[in-house]
């Protein structure tokens, strides 16, 4: 490893542990369904429908906004538990 190497700090927080549990619990998500939701959310961004949430994270699932928050990991956990799906199925993006 070079002297300039970046240390790799594994994420050990309880939230990261919970996220890993949920990822192990559910089958990996359907990438087409994810892409459809992500494209839908991008359309909402382009239509300026999410401007009230600039700086925050917005979550979409099945082509509707299902949550707005300030923490990416918290939303993945909350919505994975609410909908009973792999966290990777939930679209959560920061709004700029």
């Amino acid at each position: 490893m070079s002297t300039n190497a970046v240390s790799i700090a594994p994420a050990n927080s309880a939230r990261e542990d919970r996220l890993r549990e949920l990822m192990a619990l559910y089958p990996e998500p359907d990438w087409r369904a994810y892409a459809a939701d992500r494209a839908w959310l991008a359309e909402q961004q382009n239509a300026r429908a999410l401007d009230a949430h600039v700086g925050r994270v917005v979550a979409a699932y099945e082509q509707r906004v299902v949550a707005v928050g300030d923490d990416y990991t918290d939303l993945l956990i909350e919505l994975s538990e609410r909908f009973g799906v792999h966290p990777g199925r939930i679209v959560v993006v920061g709004i700029e």
């Binding site: 970046v6 994810y34 991008a42 990416y72 959560v92």
Partner: protein, 170 residues
């Protein structure tokens, strides 16, 4: 020809300028986004196509989930080599190089493009962000390293909507 549609993202309102006749022109500020899966955990990240970036750039908030040895192998600098800094708009960063040992997958609603053994920059830190949240930064899909080689990046204006449209074709 297989293709992945890029999403023309307009996060900002258009610039308002006038031409010599005084007519108002609205200048859109597009970015082309795509969706990418990387090793480490089964979540998708936003990526931006940037052929002005020499390499594909993975911010620390994302690669911190990679497992050394199974997800990537470091490509250490040669002994004595003066380690360069990377630079992008508004941000200087340190980085190291690595080869991904699991596929990098770009996709849209219909198509996936899976690339093996892509060489990337693992960047120390994350780009400046206006997010108050801890939303992951974007991956920058750069020119060399195996992610985009062998593809054509198409940029055109949609005849119906007048909006910019983009795709990666191969």
């Amino acid at each position: 020809m297989p293709r992945i549609e890029l999403t023309a993202h307009e996060p900002y309102v258009p610039l308002r300028v006038t031409d010599a006749s005084g007519a108002l022109l609205l200048l859109p500020r597009y970015k082309f986004l795509c969706w990418v899966r990387l090793p480490g955990r089964a979540v998708t990240y936003d990526a931006i196509i940037d052929t002005g970036s020499p390499f594909t750039l993975v911010p620390e908030a994302i690669w911190t989930h990679f497992r050394p040895g199974s997800d990537f192998e470091e490509l250490p600098y040669q002994a004595g080599y003066p380690v360069p800094q990377g630079q992008t708009a508004g941000w200087n960063f340190r980085f190291r190089m690595a080869r991904l040992l699991q596929p990098l997958v770009l996709f849209d609603v219909n198509t996936q493009l899976s690339r093996d053994r892509v060489i990337v920059q693992l960047v120390e830190g994350n780009p400046p962000s206006t997010f108050r949240s801890n939303a992951p930064p974007r991956v920058v899909m750069g020119l060399w390293g195996g992610a985009l080689e062998g593809t054509n990046v198409r940029v055109e204006t949609d005849a119906t909507t007048g909006r910019l449209a983009g795709a990666i074709e191969w």
